[in-house]
């Protein structure tokens, strides 16, 4: 049996890992990307809509905020969201991430969005004090967002002529940013395989919400397939943060399935 406390702890620690990697990556590129010649320079982000309270944050200030965020993310992974220090770490990480995102304006992705939502849900569930009801509500929220994400992604692909024609993955693999030359060549050589792969992704994403009705074994299998899917996306497309942010929500999904499915 999955408890809401376990589900929230796993989601929280995974989100800390996902955001922590992102923070460390931004620390590495800080001088260049956030400096005068980079895409996140003050000149550009002010034009793109960063809020007034972050407009004058220098690169030095950002370094401190990112460093604090990095330490908080490590503490969050190690301690989880229930101890006093752990709760402080989660709150600190959330504030760091919010400031950096508002300052950066661009460059966010689905993993950062999901991990930030998880942190926010945990923030209101464990602060100022622990509340079992609030924790349970947070688990429902996170699990529901996870299911919504796969359903949306699946439906968007199912109605797309590109994905229905079976060339979605081939096209992505043909790019430098998200592709792999080797995989691109294989898919070009075996178009039937490419088409099958497309349809398997669409099928997986569209049927993901059925975990709410499925027997336990099928739900667990779907979640394992999801992990393999995200591992594949990380290896082939460089979507490293997704590997932690989305599978991290799966215990919340399992908790919801446990509550809702007549077949568990």
């Amino acid at each position: 049996m999955v408890s809401p406390e376990l589900a929230l702890s796993v989601a929280g620690r995974a989100s800390c890992a996902s955001l922590g990697i992102g923070i460390l990556e931004q620390l590495v590129i800080l001088n260049r990307a956030f400096g005068a010649e980079g895409p996140f320079s003050l000149a550009i982000t002010n034009v793109m809509g960063s809020a007034k309270f972050v407009r004058n944050l220098s690169v030095k200030s950002l370094r401190y905020i990112l460093a604090v965020g990095a330490i908080a993310s490590i503490l969050g992974v190690v301690l989880g969201p229930y101890s006093l220090l752990g709760r402080s770490a989660f709150a600190t990480l959330l504030v760091s991430v919010l400031i950096i995102r508002i300052r950066r304006v661009m460059g966010t992705d689905g993993a950062e969005q999901m991990a930030t939502l998880v942190l926010f849900a945990i923030f209101i569930a464990v602060l100022p004090s622990l509340s079992k009801t609030a924790i349970t509500l947070a688990v429902w929220f996170i699990g529901s967002q996870s299911i919504l994400s796969y359903a949306t992604a699946g439906i968007a692909k199912a109605i797309s002529p590109t994905w229905r024609a079976g060339v979605g993955i081939s096209l992505i693999m043909g790019s430098e940013a998200h592709g792999q030359p080797f995989i691109s060549v294989v898919l070009a050589r075996f178009p039937v395989f490419a088409k099958l792969l497309c349809w398997l992704v669409v099928l997986f994403e569209c049927t993901f919400p059925l975990v709410l009705l499925a027997p336990e074994a099928i739900t667990i299998s779907m979640l394992l397939i999801g992990f393999v899917f995200h591992l594949g996306c990380a290896i082939s497309m460089g979507l490293n943060a997704f590997l932690f942010a989305f599978p991290g929500t799966y215990v919340c999904v399992a908790y919801i399935a446990q509550q809702m499915s007549p077949n568990w």
């Binding site: 990697i21 969005q113 009801t133 929220f141 992604a153």
Partner: protein
């Protein structure tokens, strides 16, 4: 009381998230006023149109005493390596460029429909690209600069490139 507020807040955010997936333009414009940083998620990854092209930002300069342009120079972005499945710092710069170019493309579509030819040049995404390009170092005698957005598709010998946007000339300094 706390539990009731928590339920209300999370339910409201989830409901808003559901509506956000429906791509309703009026809703998107309204939400953007309160959430320009996209904390409210949109989960349609790589669909309906998967990102298949790489975007490159290039510029060329013209000197004070010359009417001849320099060769096109690319604004260099960090490249990724074999560890990108775990460590991928290059994703931020590439995503920023994609965000600005996609934003400009959406503005161009809306401008065409509204018969507003200046809308693209006045858009924040275009101005952001101008600021980025103009901050890039060039030769010290450059007086003006022009940039272009180039779309590249494929790998190795299959690679093709074509410009999707060419700016007007901007004065440096």
């Amino acid at each position: 009381m706390r539990e009731a507020l928590t339920l209300l807040l999370l339910a409201a955010i989830f409901a808003a998230s559901v509506v956000n997936q429906l791509s309703i333009q009026r809703w998107a414009i309204w939400v953007a006023r309160f959430d320009p940083w996209t904390f409210l998620p949109f989960w349609a990854f790589f669909a309906p149109n998967p990102a298949f092209a790489d975007i490159h930002l290039v510029f060329r300069d013209r000197g004070i005493a010359s009417t001849a342009w320099t060769e096109w120079t690319e604004v260099q972005l960090r490249s990724s390596n074999g560890w990108r499945w775990l460590w991928n710092p290059s994703r931020y710069e590439h995503k920023a460029l994609h965000d600005m170019v996609n934003g400009m493309a959406m503005t161009a579509e809306a401008a065409k429909a509204a018969n507003a030819p200046n809308a693209v040049e006045l858009s924040s995404c275009h101005l952001g690209l101008v600021a980025w390009v103009m901050a890039s170092p060039g030769i010290h005698t450059s007086q003006s600069r022009q940039f272009a957005v180039v779309q590249v598709v494929g790998h190795g010998r299959e690679r093709t490139a074509h410009p999707v946007f060419v700016s007007r000339e901007y004065t440096l300094g």
